[in-house]
């Protein structure tokens, strides 16, 4: 089903509405294997709805979502096996230890206990948290919790990692730390990342970017390309121009 040219994530013409409210309209985007892609949008742009559809919390009523070539609706089992997710809200169990949280996740992927332990320790080492394995999650800092969540999402070795505003609520240092950690993971090869954010400074000039606004994709390309197309200095200015924020500010 999948080969090296199959995109890790392919979303085509996806629409979704909550009753009368149209949350997404004809959204299409693609994330190549081993690529980092920023999904940029203001709060309420539809990022979380899109994530809900990709993770199959609910289904898309039109269009297709494919993870490593597997349709999320038709082959959810294969699609979800290839998917790791870090949700916007904290989803670790604060009463349990770091390792207990990790092995619970491993069980949700049917990983045998011993192997689960090994994988958990390996991923926590990669996240620089090997010494916190036995500690209660409650005792970790916000940034460390995020790192544990990333380690947990990678435990079953997915091909695609989704992160929904992962730096919300973190201080500048922790935010920088999380970004460079995820970029390093992409650099190690094989992993593709879709990083949703409303913070322009988290996007590099050569990053692929998809701009989502009021439920529609209004721009795609690298950050630099988008800025050039709008004849402005950087992505932020281009974004302000596209979304009408600049006008708002002027007024």
């Amino acid at each position: 089903m999948s080969n090296d040219t199959t995109p890790a994530l392919h979303v085509s013409s996806v629409s979704h509405s909550y009753g009368a409210r149209q949350a997404l309209e004809g959204v299409s985007l693609s994330v190549g294997q081993g690529a980092f892609c920023g999904l940029l949008g203001l709060n309420g742009a539809g990022k979380t709805t899109l994530f809900s559809l990709i993770t199959r919390l609910f289904d898309n009523t039109s269009g297709h979502v494919r993870v490593m070539g597997h349709d999320v609706r038709r082959a959810p089992k294969l699609a979800l096996q290839n998917l790791g997710v870090v949700f916007q809200n904290r989803t670790l169990d604060p009463d349990l230890s770091v390792l207990q949280n990790m092995t619970y996740h491993a069980a949700l992927h049917g990983i045998p206990r011993r192997q689960a332990r090994e994988r958990a320790v390996a991923e926590l080492e990669r996240a620089g948290l090997a010494d916190r394995v036995g500690e209660a999650v409650r005792s970790l800092s916000g940034g460390q919790m995020r790192r544990v969540e990333i380690a947990r999402a990678l435990l079953h070795q997915p091909k695609l990692l989704l992160l929904d505003e992962p730096t919300v609520g973190l201080d500048v240092g922790a935010r920088r730390d999380i970004i460079s950690h995820v970029r390093a993971l992409v650099g190690q090869g094989g992993l593709s990342v879709l990083w949703a954010t409303h913070l322009m400074e988290e996007i590099n000039t050569d990053d692929a970017v998809v701009v989502l606004h009021q439920g529609k994709v209004i721009e795609t390309g690298t950050s630099q390309e988008i800025a050039d197309r709008h004849e402005v200095g950087d992505l932020k200015e281009a974004f302000d121009a596209m979304t009408g924020l600049a006008k708002g500010k002027a007024a």
Binding site: D59, L78, H109
Partner: protein, 276 residues
Amino acid sequence: MTGAVGQYGAAGYLRCMTGIIWREGLRFLQQRGRFIAALVRPLVWLFIFAAGFRSVLGVSIIEPYETYVLYEVYITPGLVGMIQLFNGMQSSLAMVYDREMGTMRTLLVSPFPRWFLLGSKLLAGTIVSIAQVYVFLAIAWFWEVDPPLGGYLTVFPALVLSGLMLGSLGLLLSSVIRQLENFAGIMNFVIFPMFFMSSALYPLWRMKESSPLLYELCSFNPFTYAVELIRHALYMQLNLQAALVAAGCTFAFMALAVFAYNPSKGLIARRGGPGG
């Protein structure tokens, strides 16, 4: 190449289910307050309420009892049902809480089928409730509530069935309830009516004497059948009608809950999902 370490065959299903049960047990043990509250509630009814009403409420000889029984003995199966009822509703509250905290979402992105994940969660809650029941029955034994020893064994399958029934009702409610505060609503609109309109505290023939309408309502209350199933099983008898009703209700509640959590048909997609 896909899902390099995940195992999604039969052994994987089993590990997934035991993982969910393990986590539920671990959480329960770590929330001591919940454990104590779960025990104190029925014990207050047994020690105080039942003692006070012992002389007021005479219970004639009815099945499965062979002689006149103390009021404490009569209400024990009802209190066992109450433990499971609270547990089922509390786990539904935990589901709402989990969902809002996102833990539910981590469960639902598991590649295993959703009905299996929800069923495992239900089973986990039932096992926790049965552990509570046995601790309660052990304490009640010192309070002259001493059914035949074999009854402690034969009540087990009844507890599994009643636990699943009340748990699946909770699961169904969890898909409908949106806010954390609504446990008070569950208390008022689910737990109290179900408990009082049942045979937990008084035999239904007494209710019939007071109000035929209430009697009819009690006979439609699934909780009545859970209590009667437990009452008979505790005295090594099978109440087939109660067992069938409990099984039917479990199936119906579970089917509705799976429907409600279904990604394309369910309520989650319709009623306005997350913002952002």
